[in-house]
């Protein structure tokens, strides 16, 4: 395809390890424009790069300067970043600003990366949670309100503005090289906390596989809400052991005790508002995505945990 005929795609959150992988996989098929809200990202010379916050007026300049055909919105602030007010501002109000600009400038496709956190980890969760399950995370803690609100907002735009062809992906724990979320940090450490008497089931997807999933979803453009998870499961404590971590037991009852310990010790990778995720399962059903997009992760749990073991022993990583 001639260069000028290729669709132009804006990728947000370009600094992140996942965005870097998506950019690498997309650049031969699309003309890319990248933006990050934290710092300027230098990529290939032919990929225009912007450093502007999603809530600021300057963000609109990207739409004025480029005829954007589609957006892959990866620039969501994680639940362990900044404070909940900043996260609400960026994730909810920022996304609303972006979606309004998409309508104004006739963007025809939007893909938003959400998270399985939206379902909430609850003792009464059925297994597995499919895309129709209620989003209970904001009932657990105010720190996850922005995560659920971002989805609610996207749902409104999804039905109100069908021309946006909006797709929402809810992946399980994304881990692997370069990932700096809570779970990846826990697997990376030599010692990690566990709650005494609780070993909730978890799912992990390698960063390379979720990048592949995003590209597949964007290319096929079948709007909707999809969980993304492999068909394999492991207990949290088993995952730590397999990653070469020593488990540090923390009293689990009454619930206020682990939360207090987490706050007192300022455990960033084991924050008090995510305690329930280390106690109860939130297992998602990724079959709809797998069937719709003919997707199968290529890296299994052993491959993932081997990465963290090698990282600790400082052996070269494949």
């Amino acid at each position: 395809m001639a260069e000028e005929k290729k669709p132009k795609v804006l990728i947000t959150g370009a600094r992140g390890a996942l965005a870097q992988q998506v950019i690498t996989r997309m650049k031969s098929h699309f003309r890319l424009v990248i933006v990050d809200f934290r710092r300027r990202v230098v990529m290939d010379e032919d990929i225009p790069s912007y450093f502007v916050h999603i809530t600021k007026r300057g963000f609109e300049d990207i739409f004025r300067e480029h005829k954007i055909d589609g957006i892959i919105h990866l620039g969501r602030m994680e639940s362990d970043e900044s404070n909940r007010f900043s996260r609400y501002n960026a994730n909810v109000l920022g996304t609303q600003n972006m979606l309004d600009l998409c309508i104004k400038y006739n963007v025809s496709q939007v893909l938003i990366l959400s998270t399985f956190f939206v379902y909430g980890a609850n003792a009464y969760n059925p297994v597995p949670l499919d895309e129709g399950a209620p989003l209970k995370a904001s009932a657990l803690t105010k720190n996850l309100v922005d995560t659920v609100e971002l989805e609610n907002l996207a749902h409104i735009y999804m039905w109100k503005h069908r021309d946006l062809n909006l797709t929402i992906l809810r992946p399980c724990n994304i881990v692997g090289p370069g990932v700096r979320n809570s779970m990846s940090l826990l697997l990376s450490r030599k010692t990690s906390p566990v709650l005494i008497g609780f070993n909730p089931m978890m799912q992990f997807i390698h960063i390379g596989d979720i990048a592949k999933a995003i590209v597949k979803a964007y290319k096929k453009n079948t709007p909707g809400i999809y969980n993304v998870a492999p068909n394999d499961w492991v207990g949290y404590q088993d995952a730590l052991v397999a990653s070469g971590c020593r488990r540090i037991p923390i009293p689990s009852i009454p619930p206020v005790v682990p939360m207090t310990i987490s706050r007192f010790l300022n455990l960033k990778s084991f924050p008090s508002y995510l305690i329930n995720y280390f106690k109860y399962p939130a297992i998602i059903d990724g079959s709809l995505f797998a069937k719709t997009f003919n997707f199968k992760p290529s890296r299994g749990l052993d491959y993932i945990f081997q990465h963290y073991r090698r990282k600790k022993s400082k052996k070269p990583i494949d």
């Binding site: 003792a123 297994v127 008497g197 609780f198 492991v234 207990g235 689990s252």
Partner: protein
């Protein structure tokens, strides 16, 4: 080596390992399924409870061939004995039968997952919380599910009400019809006498957030247990109203009553045999 591996090495015989290997149960690379069932924990628990099954409760099972060799099924039984010993005995009987052993799943009370160690242990041996969504998803996965429609009304009842079936919930029947699932009725005899209760300390139960606290001897007594598995019952068609569902539930309840009566007549004595 973890605790689980040490216990497996100490307790699991090669015969039992071979028996469990015959159970067709898809699990992930770390031995788990999505509900938390774990093959090695199941094997360890099975080897411990099988000794109780054979030597302490001296369980006799009849009609095990009525549980299908493959595909979905709901095993519906009477509930008694304060602790879920009846569920454990039914599970062991199905897992250790000579022909086509299966790992049955039990639906348990919703408070169990909140109890440290117990919740995880129950999940690892195949139990899941009694949520209709869980039940449907497991049936879609072609599992055998053990359901006690009396719930805590049955397990927590005092000894003076022994073998009197309490009210059955209708939920299992809705699920069975909607998912075209055969029902295998089971009459459990003997578990009533394992922990005879004089009553329930309700204020204490409320204080610690569990369904009941029985006034009873704290350990199960060695009552003789008899399990009678009835022939599969199939219910089909559209549901006209809740009354028609209740009538179908009564049909299952009557069959369980008959199987209990049969079991009691087969028993030579409460603690003998």
């Amino acid at each position: 080596m973890g605790v689980r591996s040490i216990l497996k090495k100490m307790l699991v015989s090669p015969e039992l390992e071979k028996q469990v290997a015959n159970i067709k149960k898809p699990v992930g690379v770390y031995g788990y399924d999505p509900w938390g069932y774990h093959t090695d924990t199941f094997m360890v628990a099975l080897s411990i409870f099988k000794k109780m099954f054979d030597n302490y409760f001296r369980v006799e099972s009849h009609g095990l061939e009525n549980v299908p060799d493959e595909g979905r099924a709901m095993v519906i039984a009477n509930h008694s004995g304060q602790l879920p010993m009846d569920g454990i005995m039914i599970g062991i009987a199905i897992a250790t039968r000579d022909h086509a052993p299966r790992a049955a799943r039990a639906m348990v009370e919703r408070f169990f997952p909140t109890v440290p160690f117990i919740g995880n242990f129950l999940n690892q041996v195949g139990a899941v919380i009694g949520d209709p969504v869980n039940c449907v998803k497991m049936l879609q996965n072609d599992e055998v599910i053990v359901v006690f429609p009396e719930g805590v009304r049955g397990s927590g009842k005092p000894y003076r009400k022994k073998y009197q079936l309490q009210r059955f919930g209708n939920g299992f029947m809705h699920i069975a019809i909607a998912n075209k699932t055969p029902i295998i009725p089971v009459g459990v005899v003997g578990c009533e006498e394992t922990i005879p209760s004089l009553g329930d300390i309700k204020p204490l139960a409320k204080l610690i957030g569990i369904p009941y606290v029985p006034i009873a001897f704290p350990l199960p007594l060695p009552a003789k247990v008899i399990l009678n598995f009835g022939e599969p019952m199939v219910f089909e068609g559209d549901i006209d109203n809740e009354k028609s569902v209740t009538e179908k539930v009564e049909t299952v309840k009557n069959e369980i009553r008959r199987l209990i009566k049969k079991g009691r007549s087969e028993r030579k004595g409460v603690f003998y045999g």
